[in-house]
Symmetry: C2
Subunit: 337 residues, 2 copies
Amino acid sequence: MRIVITGGFGFLGREITDTLLRTRTHGGSPIDQLVLTDRFVPPGAPQAADPLVEIVRGDLVECLDEVFAEPVDVLIHLAAAVSAECEADFDLGMSANLDTTRALLEAARAQSAAGGPPPRLVFSSSVAVYGSDPALPLPPVVSESTLPTPRSSYGIQKLVCEQLVADYTRRGFIDGRVARLMTVSVRPGKPNAAASGFLSGIVREPLAGLPAICPVRPDLRVALASPRRTVEGILRIAAAEHGSGRGRLDGGLPVNLPALTVSVAEMLTTLRRVAGDAVADLVTVAPDREVEAVVGSWPSVFDNTRAAALGLEPDPSFESVVRAYIADHPDAVLVKA
Amino acid sequence: MRIVITGGFGFLGREITDTLLRTRTHGGSPIDQLVLTDRFVPPGAPQAADPLVEIVRGDLVECLDEVFAEPVDVLIHLAAAVSAECEADFDLGMSANLDTTRALLEAARAQSAAGGPPPRLVFSSSVAVYGSDPALPLPPVVSESTLPTPRSSYGIQKLVCEQLVADYTRRGFIDGRVARLMTVSVRPGKPNAAASGFLSGIVREPLAGLPAICPVRPDLRVALASPRRTVEGILRIAAAEHGSGRGRLDGGLPVNLPALTVSVAEMLTTLRRVAGDAVADLVTVAPDREVEAVVGSWPSVFDNTRAAALGLEPDPSFESVVRAYIADHPDAVLVKA
């Protein structure tokens, strides 16, 4: 089995890669090759040393010939410009998120058109497809049957690609699936340009002994998923067969990955309980109207039924999320779990 | 006021043009120029003789410089490949419906980016955005808050463009609006490649003394709008101001044009009542499983609230639709109203 991960050296790409390199199988089949594409490949990346790994470096559109030089069985498409980038630079988002995905879909279609297997393609969409239209506020509980009305260019681009993946799949060009990712917390590493960045930062930075700003009022509720659960969700959706019944993908709808609903206050209380006062006191609550408006427009409570049918459950508690982060990133924390 | 109609010599383009050339105003302002773009312009088209009319002939993408050479106040985008064409030729649909609309949106954006007014752009979408996903059957009554799950490439392309129009509008590049057209019946002229074609044909052909096939069982219910109501809907949405309250466009959601729900049996009974047995007997009911599956997957009952807020009502009865067709097309019917 030949698996391709676009954006393979991004945060989620590396997490998925590391999981696949541990198991060395996917959906019951041995992995023969794991192709990681990315514009930036960190020098000395440990994944590069694995004999299963092939690295294709460069702009994805220009690398498609190389990616599809051998048949692709599974393609996990993570490469994207993030939300704040797309809002700041409309053309960048249209190019990186829409045009690139179209080129990828066309390359995948060419494989099946040439008589090869229709590639199984997992598109990583986002909870950012949901926004609140003045004429149609979001319901208190959001599910896959809720009409998405994105309020960001990033959300629009993700929703548009979801539709294209659905049509390419219906026509038999590819075997597409859509995983809508929740806000991932606690995300390791450096802050990125996402408006949701603080939802990792208010835990990650204090644990590293650094100050952090919480730009929303603590009673705001948010929907989160840990990196572990996010990786599990993407791989489960990649491995699932179509059909009805437990463990299967029913119909062409996207799957919202399961979400844990917590208030920011609960997140801060959990940090205090797990890591102590000195760590928790590094967080300063300083509400910023703009960030609050953006984050407050996101749905915070999800009906997880569709994900549950695939055997996917949300994180049991934010404490489990924090403890997993501490266990997984010993070099990035000053406290021990 | 300078108005542009793309697909200006298609059926709806001509109907809208004729209406505007009668009123010579739009939304209370005088029309200074009416630009009609189309790939095909019938020789001797009467519209060409009107001093208000400028004709731009050719592929729309190649004509955009000419269209936007002077500021565009209102653009009604009707040009499209129809449903059966897009199902038969995927690339044609993506090019004619998605790429062309994107090029149009970019040209409109360039006008506002250069300091001009953001063009008011009416995108003609379609009831074809609604389909029935195995995991999510359509509700008995469909409204703009119903999740569209298109089951055709045409429907996907329309839905994708709706999202792009919404984002270009949210960002202030254009002032976009979306009208979702119902199946138009009775459509004059020759049959086209739409799966819905027979919903006009079973009235139009017998009225002209020609036989017609009805490829669905008569108890099937459908949602229709007459050409007059369709033109009225598009122009009302083009003229409406944003905001809440009667006559205004509330939020960024599309507007489903109001639909009259009738069974095919009622359509045939109406034809018999209005035009007599000899005419009605020209229709042969010969159900075709494939056509029935396609047409049967379309929603037949709509919640018309959003259209009603704009003052738009469905046709009062199918009899009024048939009588209007006879009155409007005396040369195409053998009976008199």
